[in-house]
Symmetry: C2
Subunit: 364 residues, 2 copies
Amino acid sequence: MQFNKSLENIKVYEAGKPIELVVREFGIAPKDVVKLASNENPLGTNPKVAEAICKNAKNAHLYPDDSMFELKESLANRFGVEDKNIIIGAGSDQILEFISRAKLNENSKALMSRVTFAMYSIYALQQGASIIRTSDYKHNSKEFISIIREHKPEVVYICTPNNPTGDATKPEDVFEIIEASDPNSLIVIDGAYMEYAIAKDSSYEITPKELLKYPNVIYLGTFSKAYGLGGMRVGYGIANSEIIKALMKMRPPFNITTLSLASAIVANSDEDFLNRSLELHTRELPRYEEYAKRHSFEFIDSYTNFITWILPKELNSSKVANALLRIGVIVRDLKSYEMNALRITVGTPKQNDRLFKVMSEVLG
Amino acid sequence: MQFNKSLENIKVYEAGKPIELVVREFGIAPKDVVKLASNENPLGTNPKVAEAICKNAKNAHLYPDDSMFELKESLANRFGVEDKNIIIGAGSDQILEFISRAKLNENSKALMSRVTFAMYSIYALQQGASIIRTSDYKHNSKEFISIIREHKPEVVYICTPNNPTGDATKPEDVFEIIEASDPNSLIVIDGAYMEYAIAKDSSYEITPKELLKYPNVIYLGTFSKAYGLGGMRVGYGIANSEIIKALMKMRPPFNITTLSLASAIVANSDEDFLNRSLELHTRELPRYEEYAKRHSFEFIDSYTNFITWILPKELNSSKVANALLRIGVIVRDLKSYEMNALRITVGTPKQNDRLFKVMSEVLG
């Protein structure tokens, strides 16, 4: 059986290991597993969302309202935009997929940071496009602009704050890149962790509304992180209506579940849960910085709900991650990103206590 | 902004109208709306599933086990196949998408019935492929084989029972098509409604296991219909492991939600709910046949959970569907499939009473 040629180049995304796997492979009780690998919200599910899920469970047999009218209205109000500027995806991941399929083919190029969200390149490779990466993981506007001028990439990915590194890019640098871009380059501003950046330093805020004046920019947001709905798969793209119309052609019907739709509507209007998530994170993040300093690790100043520890040469990040895994603590090794580093989700105080304890055991 | 050329040909799927829309547009109370348009299970959500959803609602912030180990094991047991033969999708829809993207491009052809599930052509057109349709909506093996020999289509879709017509194809005809196919043609046996066909006449049964011996066949099944999980978006593909490996490259991580995974695991092991769904349907379907006979409509003998009424020339299916809609009863007009027909989901006794009553009012 022959398949499309682009399949030859595709790597499969390596997801954070689930608790179920650690239970199966190492015989550890689920309650003893601490997962700090997938940047899930340590506050757990918003109780109001859990209530809405229970209330709507009896509707699991019914397809969702495929117009997603109520969720779009709610997002339109939150961001000061119109329904026609919004597309909903199964996570912002799926919007990345729509973008790739609408814009990229074997003759096109996609520009991204050296170390950034893996799905950008996976979706681009599925289309057979070429990937261009900057030399640095930080989004350096000069380097982006120089590559844009030379290569005219069809899609440019700016992940701010950046995953899996945690650093953020100043709006003035982002706007400089946008202003220098070709009108046919679609600039993707991926703000999956934007709520955390704003909580830390509001000068990093980029709003979808201020991007709407550009005909070639799309902003992506998600309910998976600060809104605590990782397992429900809901994200959104906000752009001018011409871009939205094109992406809607790639959207399969019923692309989020009935319960995901109900969950996102409730989550989007609950500022209290959002604030509590951000407060918990703000209290706990410094503990990871202090631990790193005490052990003479480098760390990347984080604008997200995780922190990236760059390990010294004598410590192999894969070995450390594996040793932690065997005792039930899951973190993300960044070896596949060519960094000797660990990406660790900032958890609850108790989870973080455990992480520091077992980390110290592993370091010996 | 330029987009890929294939976007020019894409029609957007016309989903069955949701209850929410009828409430918004016609001011009808939700409890007074009867939706018989999307082949949802009239028994509602399986109570055991609703319970599992409530119990797992607190995990909505956690990504699902992306290996889907437990669900695959459960399906493997049900069908007598191995985990490596199974891929899970957000509905069997998503597996259709993976197939299209793995096999089709601007130089390829996709063969399907004249009237069949709309997503086959939509996903094929997204890849820029050419569509070949048979002259009849019924899957005539002679015609399929003659087109296969002449055109060597890369993908052949056999929907049995067929949606939106409701007829089924005999296994011997399906196997004749498979045996005559080119080894490079992927034959898709879409059994989304297979449980209803088997309940009516077990001689129509095609099992995924008996298809495994063919290196170029994939069977698709879903939890959306007889298992009552339409809103949760879970389907599966079963094929030899080479096909599954290729399709897995197109699968985005976390492509079903945490609650969808939990729901499907429970639903897959509950034969009682399945049997009750099939019994309800078996009792109610004849009422639609009798109504049609009484009003001298043609109908297509149904092997699914819906029935297709072919209206006489003097009745316009779009006008009838619209008249029903205004009084709160949603059915599917098949005008866009070039049939003057209505596809109506067989509902609960009460829903069916209402349908017959308002239908008679509309017919005057």
